[in-house]
């Protein structure tokens, strides 16, 4: 005797998805700084550096450069923003696999802890982090931040097969679902 298991159906809130995604893409592109359109460094007073003044120290030696021009944020922050847009693009595909899964929260907590561990280990001289290593760790944090909010973008329903099995009707005949 077969049992039809309820299947999770997810519906993406497209308006919120596109609106927030647009904002995150804008942050990502702007974080690349003036090197996107000029080959000479306009200095730290440029508006693109001022945009991120509150959230990133943007020390040139800890920042990727486009040509001769430093990005508007350091490599870790650029990693965070890269993680934002990559994970955001994957939300429609990942939906069911990450919906209300506890491991996403643990992954987020883990990536936050990794940032502190990396900064502490580097400051204590245990290891020396690099532009790329900071970018990779930042990407992990950005991606898991986005995966954390993915649930909020979905509406859900448990749907059964349209062809009820005998087990379904015996177990709860009044339940139309």
């Amino acid at each position: 005797m077969s049992v039809s298991t309820p299947r999770l159906q997810l519906d993406l809130d497209r308006r919120s998805y596109l609106l927030l995604g647009g904002a995150l893409w804008a942050v990502f592109v702007l974080s690349a700084g003036p090197g996107l359109y000029t080959s000479t460094d306009p200095g730290s007073g440029h508006w693109s550096f001022q945009l991120f003044r509150q959230v990133c120290h943007a020390i040139p030696s800890r920042t990727f450069h486009l040509g001769e021009v430093p990005m508007a944020v350091n490599s870790r922050c650029f990693g965070v923003f890269s993680g934002f847009v990559v994970a955001w693009s994957l939300i429609p595909q990942l939906g069911r696999r990450i919906y209300r899964r506890n491991w996403v929260s643990y992954l987020f907590a883990g990536t936050v802890a990794l940032q502190f561990a990396d900064v502490a280990g580097n400051a204590a001289g245990v290891w020396t982090n690099t532009l790329v290593s900071r970018w990779i760790l930042g990407s992990g944090l950005g991606a898991t931040m986005v995966l954390m909010v993915s649930d909020l973008l979905h509406r859900s329903a448990k749907v059964r097969s349209p062809y009820p099995t005998p087990t379904d009707s015996q177990s709860n005949p009044e339940d139309p679902s």
């Binding site: 003044r53 020390i59 979905h154």
Partner: protein
């Protein structure tokens, strides 16, 4: 006896924004000022990574994750029924509040110690000189630093940094909604 159905008005989130935004901005401002004095009193090392820059690693976390703290406070003190839209709005407004509070606190300190900003700029310039930067670069950096201390420079800086701070706090506030609010009744 008549039963009267009293619907309470939706509780305001402004208290949570003002309280947590104020606390986080104050901690950030104090930390920044303390590190500024460390910078002033240290010898020019020729390294661009000074005490203020190292402190920036911590300050950015304070700034970006205030949205999470505001949602925690709102969910604890007011209601756990927070929608995604409310969380996003609260987060963005938190970013605005943090930017304004941080600027106000640092300007208050400039009233207490009017020489503070000039000393920090001079210390940074001495450090840059020790790095062997050309005079033109030093002059440009000095001009930019002094321009940032004028009223128009401060206003411009505040307005221009609000969008990014707002969006980041929006995202962390949504994480707060996921963690601290009731699971949304969003069945199809």
């Amino acid at each position: 006896m008549t039963n009267i159905d009293i619907k309470s008005a939706p509780a305001s989130y402004w208290t949570s924004i003002a309280l947590m935004g104020g606390i986080f901005s104050l901690i950030g401002a104090v930390l920044s000022i303390v590190l500024g004095y460390v910078q002033i009193n240290s010898e020019p090392s020729g390294s661009i990574i000074g005490p203020q820059a190292i402190g920036g690693v911590v300050l950015c976390l304070f700034t970006a994750f205030t949205g999470l703290a505001v949602i925690w406070h709102y969910a604890t003190e007011v209601t756990r029924d927070i929608t995604m839209g409310q969380g996003a709005l609260i987060g963005f407004l938190t970013g605005v509040a943090v930017t304004l509070f941080s600027t106000i606190f640092s300007q208050i300190w400039n009233l207490i110690d009017p020489d503070y900003t000039v000393k920090v700029v001079e210390s940074m310039m001495a450090n840059m000189e020790a790095m062997g930067l050309p005079d033109e670069a030093l002059d440009a950096a000095m001009d930019q630093a002094m321009q940032a201390t004028t009223f128009s420079g401060i206003l411009k800086s505040v307005l221009i940094s609000i969008p990014v701070t707002g969006i980041l706090n929006l995202l962390t506030a949504l994480i707060g909604v996921k963690v601290f609010a009731n699971a949304p009744q969003n069945e199809l």
